[in-house]
Structure formats: C-alpha cells, structure tokens
Symmetry: C2
Subunit: 394 residues, 2 copies
Amino acid sequence: MTGNEGVTAAAGFRAAGIVAGLKKSGKADLALVVNDGPRFEAAGVFTRNKVKAAPVLWSQQVLTTGVLRAVVLNAGGANACTGPEGFQTAHATAEKAAEVLGCGAVEVAICSTGLIGEQLPRDTVLAGVAKAAGELAGTPEAGTAVAGAIMTTDTVPKQAAETDPAGWTVGGTTKGAGMIAPSMATMLTVITTDAVLHQRDLDAALRTAVHYSFDRLDVDGSMSTNDTVLLLSSGASGVAADPDVFTGALTRACQDLARQMQADAEGVSKRISVRVTGAATEDDAVTVARTIARDALVKTAMFGCDPNWGRVAAAAGYADAEVDPDRLDVTINGVLLCKGAVVAGDRAACDLSGKDVLIEVSLGLTGGAEANTAEIRTTDLSHAYVEENSAYSS
Amino acid sequence: MTGNEGVTAAAGFRAAGIVAGLKKSGKADLALVVNDGPRFEAAGVFTRNKVKAAPVLWSQQVLTTGVLRAVVLNAGGANACTGPEGFQTAHATAEKAAEVLGCGAVEVAICSTGLIGEQLPRDTVLAGVAKAAGELAGTPEAGTAVAGAIMTTDTVPKQAAETDPAGWTVGGTTKGAGMIAPSMATMLTVITTDAVLHQRDLDAALRTAVHYSFDRLDVDGSMSTNDTVLLLSSGASGVAADPDVFTGALTRACQDLARQMQADAEGVSKRISVRVTGAATEDDAVTVARTIARDALVKTAMFGCDPNWGRVAAAAGYADAEVDPDRLDVTINGVLLCKGAVVAGDRAACDLSGKDVLIEVSLGLTGGAEANTAEIRTTDLSHAYVEENSAYSS
C-alpha cells in the first residue's frame, strides 16, 4: 500500500479526496477521479440487485457510450431508495463535475455508499465537487486520498497496481467491508489504466477480472444496491496492450483488492478460503464453495476455532450442485477430516488458532486437480460482526 | 404444553423417554414411540440434503412400505457421516426394537440428532431401547418424556395436539433450535393420530402440513443432514377422518410446533415474521420472504432494534423472484417506512423494543391481499447465536 498503487498509478489521471461534510465524523467523504486522456474508453459492471441506487442508474446510463472522463464518489450516504429526488441529486452532481471540468455530464459516472434510504444533502455534494476539482493531482498522495474518502466501515484504504514490462500500468482502489456478496461486481471500485485498448476489449477484460476476483468474495451473502466497478483508460502510455496480457494484469489487481476487502471485512477474526475441486462443472464448484462460505454454522465454528467439518459436509450437501456423498472429502488447514462423507482424521490435529483458514472440499467428480475448481474468500461470523451491524444506522 | 399434547395424545400409542447415557449431561437422550394399532399406516418427509444421516437412509427405506409400528429417537449424536458402521448401528437399533416389541425391523423408523461425524456407541443405544421398552406408557407424562429426550440445544420440550369433534386426535412433538432451513422437512418431529385414513391420504396431508409449517421456518439457512418428520396412525378412534379436515388439523399442529421452534431458536432475542404479499406467484412470495429472513444484515439490525428498512429492500431486490422497485413497500411493526422503494415514514416512529417483529413487504404485483402471499418465521442474529454456535462441538 506504499508508493503509487491507486487510481493515479497509471499515467493520464488526476484525483482528489476531500472533506465535503457528508460523514458525521468529519473525515474525507468525497472523491473525484479525472481522465486527462488522450483516450477515454471505459467499462463498468454494476449490481444485479433489482433495487438499484440512483448513482447506479445514472452510471449505467452514461456508460452505454463506453466513454468516461470522470467519476465522482461519495461516502456518507448510498443515495439508494431515494426516488426521483435522489436521481436528480446524482444528475446534478454529474452536471457540476462537467461544469468545473469542461466536459459533458454524460461523461461523468457517480458512485455513492453509506446508509440506504436517506437523501444526500445536494448542495453539500455540489460544493464538494467544486472543492475536489481545485485539488486534483496525479500524485500517489491524491490516489490515496481517493481511497480514504470512499471508506465507510473499512478500517484501511485499499489500493493495488500492476505494471507491465511493455510500458503500461493498471491501478485502482476499492471500498467495502459488509453487504458483500456480489454475483457480478462489488461495492465501489475504480480502476484506471494508461494502456491503449479498444472499448470492447476493456469491457471483456473487466468482466473476466471481476468474475475471478470480486465475484469470489462473499462476506455476508448480502448483495448491495450500490455495487459498482469502473475501469477508465487514458491511453497515456501510448502502448497498445495485448488484451489477454491486460486481462491477466487487471485480474491480479482485482484479486489483490478483493483480498484486501476480505482482510478488512466487518468483524473479521478469520480469513477463510473455501477451495472446491473436482466439481462436475466450474459453476458447481463456485456454488458449493459459496454455499459453504455463506453457512452461518460453518462461519461461527471457525470463529470458535472449532474444526466442525460436519457442518462443512452438511453445507456441501445442501448446495444446489451435483454432490456424491461417497466421494466427498473435507480437509481443514491441511488435515483430512472427512473422506467419502465419513469421519477420517482427528479433529484435535487441526490447528485453527491462526488467522487464516483453508477449507478444502474435494467432490471427486472430475479427475484433474485443476479441473472445475473454485475458491471463495470469506470471513468468520464473530461477535464483532454482530456488534457492528446491529448498530450501523443509529 | 399442559395436558396430553404430545405423541400420546392420540389413542393407540405408548411411549417412553429415558436416560441411555448418550448425552454427556446425563439427561434423557433416547425415546421410543410405539403404535399399538389396530392400523399402522405411516408417512414420512426427510431432508433433501444430499449428505443424509444413517437413520434417514434407514427410515426412508422402511417407509416405502407405508407402515410403521415404532420409532426410536436419540439425541447425543446425529449418526451422520458415519459410513457403513453408522448404518449398521441404525439397522441394529431397529432390530433391537423389533425384538423387544415383537415386530419386524422394517416396521421401525430411526431418528438421531446431535454432532455430525461421530459414531454412536451401539451397545449403549441397544441397551437404551430395551430399557425404554420396559417403560412404555400411554400417559401424558410418557409423551412429555419423549419431547424431553430428543432435545439438544432446545431449552423447552415442544408438543402440540388438535382434537376433532368427530372423535379423532392428532398430536406430536418436535425438536430443533439450529441448523434449521428445511425446504421440505425439519429436524426431528413425530406426529401420531388415531384417525382412520388411507396411507395415501396420510402422506398427502403430511406433505401439505409440512409445506405450510416447517417449510416456512428458517433460523439460519442451514439444512440439516437429519431432518425427519414422521406421521403414524393407529386408527384407534375407529373414526374415519375427512382428509381435508385432517389436513387442516395436522397443519395447525405442525404450525404450533414450528412456532415453538422459532421461540426457542438458538440465541433468539426477537421472533421475526416476514410476510410478503402481492407477489407474482406463491413461490415468489416464499422466495422473497426467505431471502429477507436469511439476510444477516436484516437479522443483526433487528437484534439492534434498528428499523433499517433499506436492508429489507436490498434483500428483496436480490431475491431470485419478480420484484419491481417502483411497487415495493416495506412496513415494520405497522409503520410504513418505504413506498415504491423510496423512503416514506419516520424510522423513529417504529418501535422495535418488544420481542416480536413483523416485517411486511408488499410487492404490488397482484391485487388481492390474500393472493400470492407467504410468511416465513425467523429469528434475529444475536451475540448469543454466535456464542452458542462457536462452541457447540467442543
């Protein structure tokens, strides 16, 4: 998290994170990311929740052109379930950014996060946009300021970057610590690159990267109304990137950000990876891993340092996927505890005192170790999770 | 819970609940329910979990005849994930009951509950069956002893009965406080009746009753390996029951038992009913209600007495059902907080200090108030739930 790792890592971008006055804490709460070009191709992936926040509705609309010049992000309010007034706030925010940056409102995406169901103070937001525009810089500090301004229950800013030997860079930032169960995107993420790519290649790369990163993170099974991942390209490196190489770098950057989200998830005391192998299909592997990762009894057992593999086997058994109990093996932190759905090892040999837990489930339905495999990252269900989420809106 | 409300409420049944020595606590842990006839039609519904406990595999097999003379139930071990040895234990238990009762082993169902993945001490179980056979009685006390012997994390015994003016009775008992998300049955339930009914009518009545009772209860989204609901009929009243009237009485008894399970669920501090109306289909109503009932953020908000309706709207929005945000209303404890997915009422007016919470979600997709409606009962997500479930197997 040191050096230039965030949205200003790539050439052609300036950014700012400032105090607009939306958070009661008085901390930074509004960010602006600007693409100075020379190119402006962009792509986005949004929540599939049918209840979409106003900024999601706005940003989906402007992204249909495949072009973005700027993104305004705010914490301190999700602007979700706010009706026409909330949509007008998102629109006015884009208009304000367009005015101060000298572009069109349809070239400005909006992202919001915070409590659902309260109107944002529109004048406060618009004044914040003007203030942020006056502080834009292409420095690492400016990138880190963006990462800080979008935090809600996050405790640390989250940034990542990958630089390709060919001469281009992809970098970004994310926020999110709860209400995380994206099935196509997660929370607010902005990624920038100076690589030269066609918009359709950018779009395909983003979908692939999200599929293997944020889509494989599941903190609490709750899909947000505001999930947004944006990818902006400036082309400022002047280097045309090979789409496959770019997709690889983008995927690694997104996985890095997803790992940081897992480590900072609400109430986390264990970082749990559920790795499923030998499924009938990759989709089945994801389904079984996600079902185990979401199971409240598995999550509480891990919190209690209890290698209760029976709960893992039970969760695999109710997953909506092909499962043959006779071939179901469960290994926790390297100790084989269950073979063919029958008790195999010694619970006492399984050490769960550390912060990292690896739950490996072999379904034995396909041969190759790499075939039809998926890994979902999750967290335990702790007293701290209950505490944090029982007092969030008050 | 006073009077004769359990498995001995109906004529023609004797029962016993005894200390076999399976629970470390030394409490009662084995029960025997015997049908003395003159008829022996029976029906059963079992977990759809692909990982099925040995007693489920055994009982499913013997139920194919549609006849049962007895049921042996034990707490202190689920006999799940125990392989051929575990199945032999279930088989030997049925053989032992058959020997002491003078019937066939294929007329004896077995139900077990407790920790997954440990072998039951077979000799202890067999000795317990013999002991229980010596204590059989048709008294209310014997029924209550059965209810007590099958408890695990339950804190109270659970029984219910309905008597029809025509002269027949249906009564039963259940256990279950966690790992409850049946999608067709739940935990261990034994219901008896002295009504005269064809086996196919018994079977149909049981499926309907379960659909509108245990299937509408969801404590933690985790489906057990051992869920079993059995219905035994003795015909001892000599009265032929109208199948529709019987189905109604059976459904009421099952709903009574499900309510008792909700009230005694692990760590419960709130009894939450999620009522969805105006869905496109009844299945959609169930799906939306279940998704809200399972949402960890909704459950923690209720624990915190926080009318955070945005989380309810978000959960409705990610449910796999038809949802139109513009028609989505949310009412909590009588206060309309959200209309058309937009903030409507005052959070402060919503009093969540009591133990009961009613979350009403109107989807507005069908007109009639009764059309396509479903209610799911659940509980909050509390510190006590985390505490209980992080220390269960140790």
